[in-house]
């Protein structure tokens, strides 16, 4: 009867659909009472791991050496160990293929210690700095294997996809976080663990 009697033809929005589904599932996961309880337990577990590593380091015993012989390898979570830590400033989620997704939300400067602990729980050794970035000579191809995706959403959110197993033994990821007008500035680099670093307060580039 009316020319209004038709539903609009839905346009193809595959990227939005995928991202929205993932985001909604993440929110659903975070809002589940059982998941919330598990996330708290995992955060405590991550904190305990950090504490254990600190004790081992103080005793002069490397965690990796303590569990086996051979060259040290980057630390990874146990096989099948899923981590989903969601707090106001960031989300850390393990995904398929051993990847770790880090979502840094706009307008929230993460607590470096909390983010570092969350990443450690997901098997990512990290140095989190706010207002400064650190660097060391390392081939860019190495970083590309570790940081496989980096997206900035229109709302200022930054999403990093990390492959923990690609982090060379003895190295860690430096996530340098800046708050800049209109969004977050995130700089990511690989730095040697425990070595003196060159850090500076100005980001080499600003994104977001």
């Amino acid at each position: 009867m009316l020319s209004a009697d038709r539903r609009p033809v839905p346009p193809a929005i595959p990227s939005f659909s995928r991202d929205m589904e993932q985001a909604l599932v993440a929110v659903a996961r975070a809002s589940s009472p059982a998941r919330r309880a598990r996330s708290v337990r995992r955060a405590k577990w991550a904190a305990a791991c950090i504490a254990a590593a600190a004790v081992a380091a103080a005793a002069g015993v490397g965690i990796d050496h303590a569990v086996g012989s051979g060259p040290p390898a980057a630390s990874h979570p146990p096989a099948g160990h899923a981590v989903h830590i969601h707090v106001a400033a960031f989300l850390v989620d393990t995904g398929p293929g051993g990847t770790v997704t880090v979502t840094l939300l706009r307008d929230y400067a993460p607590d470096p210690s909390a983010l570092r602990q969350a990443l450690a729980g997901a098997g990512v050794p990290a140095l989190v700095t706010v207002g400064s970035v650190c660097s060391a000579p390392v081939p860019s191809s190495a970083l590309n294997q570790v940081l496989t995706s980096r997206r900035h959403l229109a709302d200022g959110t930054t999403i990093l996809t990390i492959v923990p197993r690609a982090i060379p033994a003895g190295w860690e990821l430096n996530i340098g976080y800046f708050q800049v007008p209109g969004g977050n500035g995130i700089h990511v680099s690989l730095v040697p663990e425990g070595a003196p670093l060159t850090c500076r307060s100005a980001p080499p580039f600003v994104t977001g």
Partner: protein, 204 residues
Amino acid sequence: MDESDADLLEATARGDAEAFGRFYRRHEQRVLCYAIARCANAGDVADAVGETFLGALGSAARFSGGGSNADGDAIPWLFGIARRVLAHQRRSFTRRQRLVRRLERLPSLNPDEAEAVEAAIDAARLAPRLAAAMATLRPKDRELLRLVGGDELSPAQAGAVLGMNANTARVRLSRARARMQSLLTAADGTLPAAPHPEVPDAQR
């Protein structure tokens, strides 16, 4: 056997986040079309879709497949949420900003997708004469016509979205159709002034 909407929402309420992902995949296109027919731009469409499903997530435990929705189809329920979401979008900038902050972790359309959605909004825009005739209807009657004609709901389902019983919805729909027919076939081609201008179109 396929999971019903009630099954998926019940699982969601129990903490099965992936069930909500399946629920989203099942109904994304219907909600997308609903938003396209009522929003002024692609950004509002994306927000409306995200906010609607966030609302559904928050209310999953309260979904009931009974009543006029006996087959468990959650579309009228989702459209009811979407309708409230769009009303919020139109109310005030401040309120909208508060909503946006709640949604800070939801994605947005990429430029190609936004262009496709804008094209769909243009395609869904009513012809001027039809839009003028629609504007003479009371807002709920106008929405009834859209839900039944455009969104393919039954009169009873459309009534449920708008908070009216099935009989009332049928009667009002019939009267609205008759009025539209009368206006559009008027010999002189003139339409009365719109007593109920439609806000979203006016915002374009």
